[in-house]
Each structure stands twice: as C-alpha cells, then as structure tokens.
Symmetry: C2
C-alpha cells in the first residue's frame, strides 16, 4: 500500500505532533502491517517538505523495518547517466535502505544497470504506467523486430538485462488488456501494479490479467487505504480498507500465491 502522505490531508489530531507526517504514517503502519506485505513511498510527497520531509521518510522506513519482514519501495522514478545512477543506487539502497526503487527507462542501459546485481535489492522499471499521458510516448509504434508499442520494446530490452530476481516492471492497473499482453511477454518478472482504487483500476481484472502460476504481482492500493477515512476515523478506516482489500484478494492469493501490497 502507498504512503504518499500530504501534510494537508492528515487528520487534525495529528497536527499537534512535532512531526505530523511521521506520526500519521506510524499510526497507519501500526494498523496495516499485519495485512500488507509491502509499503510504497512516493518521494515527491516527502521532497515537498524539504529536509524535514527527508527525515520523515527515513523515520517512516525505520518504523516499517521495526515491524518485521516488509518490502519497502521508493517510488522515485529516477533515471540518469551511469555515474549519477550509481549515486542514486547509493542514496536509496545504502542510505535510505529501501528494498526497491522505481526507475524510468528513457536514458537506457547505463541508467538501469547500476541498480542491478545488489543482493536483495530490486530495480522496478516503468513499463506501462497507469496515467492518461502513458499513451503519448509509451504507446508509440516502434519498428524493432516487426512493429510494436514502445513499452513492449522497453520491457523486452530491460528483461534481457535484469533477472527476475532483481528486476520488476511497473505495469498500470488501468489497462487490463495491456497487462495481459505484457504478462505474456515477460512471464517470469514481477510486476508492480499501481492504479487500483483511486485511479480506476479494478482488482479482479488485474488479477485475471496479470497473475502467474507463482503469483508475480505486487498490487498497490493507490491511496484507497491511506485516505480511507476522515478525522478520528482515519486510522480505523485504513485498517478496514486494508482488511477489505486483503479479503477481496484472499481466495485467489491462496490459490495462486499472489502478493498484495
């Protein structure tokens, strides 16, 4: 589930705390960590608070770690030339100590390789994203072994550079037909699937289109859990929403081994 916490959406009773974002995150993690297997934090929401946001990010990651074996994703969408990519890998894997970081593929091989080959760490490359603008660039028709969409070529190239144990793809929930097609193309790599909930993706459509015999999906609730309720009910509502999502997934999870974020 995502922790894209915005200070102006935090319930009032947290605002008296010296670090409201951190306090709210901890309360949400407290009531969801036994239901989620992963947390995704989008850097934009922390960077908008400057150095204090960075401290909130570090503190939130430490709090998640204290709760046991949970997978932590920095949704950062970085991508830069080789020596800079290495510095980002250091910033996220060594300094922040997250398990995975999202990466933009536009700059090619040397922007992705520095994130691979790190035991227990993952690069999650943007394949097909869930937003409307995805169609502007990702859906362009490319000539490469016949005519294909750009996202297909991106996924094919990147999948050849990174093993399933170190590389995943972002494949949005909002276009299930595309998800099914990409799954056929990359049968062994995990997909991080954002866009279920607020962005309109349907959970059962996603599971039907994307799951493999071994699971293969990290399905992310886009703020549906984080902002499930208001005021004093915000935290209990988050637990109810997480339970609901867990329940909705459980039958297929037991049968197929899907992992729910």
């Amino acid at each position: 589930m995502c922790l894209d916490t915005e200070e102006d959406r935090i319930p009032e009773h947290f605002l008296g705390d010296s670090h409201p974002v951190r306090a709210f995150n901890e309360a949400i993690i407290e009531v969801t960590h036994d239901l989620a297997v992963a947390y995704k934090l989008n850097l934009a929401f922390y960077e908008a608070q400057g150095d204090q946001g960075w401290l909130d990010l570090e503190a939130t990651i430490a709090y998640i770690r204290s709760k046991g074996d949970l997978f932590i994703i920095a949704d950062a969408k970085r991508g830069d030339i080789g020596n800079t990519a290495r510095k980002y890998a250091e910033a996220f894997f060594d300094r922040l100590d997250v398990d995975a970081i999202t990466i933009s593929p536009y700059m090619g091989r040397d922007s992705v390789l520095p994130f691979l080959g790190r035991k227990g760490k993952w690069a999650i490359v943007l394949g097909v994203t869930s937003n409307p603008g995805a169609e502007d660039i990702q859906f362009l028709k490319v000539k490469a072994n016949g005519e294909r969409r750009l996202y297909e070529v991106v996924i094919e190239k990147m999948a050849a550079w990174g093993r399933p144990g170190e590389l995943m793809f972002v494949v949005g929930a909002t276009r299930p037909a595309v998800l099914a097609e990409v799954r056929a193309q990359a049968p062994d790599h995990f997909f991080l699937v954002p866009g279920v909930g607020a962005q309109g993706g349907d959970l059962s459509d996603v599971m039907n289109a994307g799951m493999t015999g071994h699971g293969g999906l990290l399905i992310n609730s886009s703020r549906g859990i984080l902002y499930a309720g208001q005021g004093e009910d915000a935290v209990p509502a988050a637990r109810r929403a997480a339970l609901e999502m867990r329940k909705e997934m459980s039958a297929a999870m037991q049968a197929r081994g899907i992992i729910a974020v």
Copy 2:
C-alpha cells in the same frame, strides 16, 4: 556549470568544516559566479547524503541567490502522474526555489504539464541525452508521420505543449550531428547541453551545431570546472577552468548571443 559535489572528492582542507559540501560549493560559487550565468545541481549527489544533503542543497541555492541574477537548475529528471508531478513542481519551484527542473518524458503529458505556466520557471525535458544508453530507447525508430527516431517525436510533442518561454530540452553534447538535426526541428526552444568536457562533447562542435541567431544554448561543463584541480589548488583551478571556458565561448557569444552555463 554543475555542482555535483561528492563528499569524497572535496579537498581535504574543507573536511574540517561542519558542512564540507556546502563550504566547498560556496568557495566554488564565490570564484565562478561572475563567469557563469547558471548553476546545475544534480539531486543524486545530495540525496546520497540524506537530510544533510538536502540542507546542503538548500544552503547552496540560497548562496547562489545571494550572488545576484543567476539561473539555477535542479537536475532531477523527475516524471510522474499528474498529482505527483504537481507535488514535484511544488517541491522544486516553491520549496527549493530553483528556476528550472529537468523532466523525463516517458510518462507523457500529465507528467510534464504541471511544470509549465509558472512565471519565470522552466521545465527542461530530456530529448537526446549524452550517455551511451541514450541509443537503447531514444534512438528507436518510431512510426509517427513517417519514420522517425523516438527523441524526434518526443521533442515534437513536447514542443507543442510548452512555449519557448517555459520549456527547454536536454540535448547532449556528445552527438553534434543529432544536435544540429534537433535544432532544425525546434528552432525556438532553448537547449540545455550537458556532456561538454568529462563526457567528451566538444565545445565548438556544440556551438556550430546548436546555436540560433538569438543564442538558444545553455552549455554545461560536466565537472570540468568543479573538479579542475586538487587540494589547495582546487578553488583557484576552478576559476581558471571557468575563465578558459568563458574565453573559448566569448567570440561566438558576442557574435550570436549564446548563453554559457
């Protein structure tokens, strides 16, 4: 010029300072601000130092501001869905108060538009980058009004969304023929040109290929100035390197109005 400062490359006599990166940056700015018109800070190098890095970044920006009318670029290569892109615009334009931010185009329109329409602020979209991996994705052949390279289609689409007064493109210095071709395609937009110096781009080739009648280039020295010298000579050497670059550009600048970073 770039301020991609790494703590382990700072001359020893700065390491006793309570904030070595900041102290080194200030010394470099002190001796170059009358020669440069812009500073580019790559976020990776600051994020690798966590919250302290963010404080160094803020302090460096404030120091540049104190030196007068200088253009500040956050080389961040962000790119995300609409609501997140708005948050990044807030983080960089409002909170950090930089003049420009580099943006990855892969997620399309809603990842770019939130950075436009802000008076005095600029989005700088990746067109053709200077690294070897650029050829993996950016050079793919795309079918869109005939057959063209992906970067051409990216630049054409983005140029239609953003006016020359709010949108620039990153066009690397390492492929002058491509720079000339892209200049023909986008005659009125500024280009930020990295890759001169350490990455192998040649200054006069870049100027011949990319300058317009009104200038139109922000040429960035990739660490050639920042790390021009060692030890006690590091700061004086940075000034000498900046003077050298300034001199090399000056004839053409006077004739054509090129702006040198």
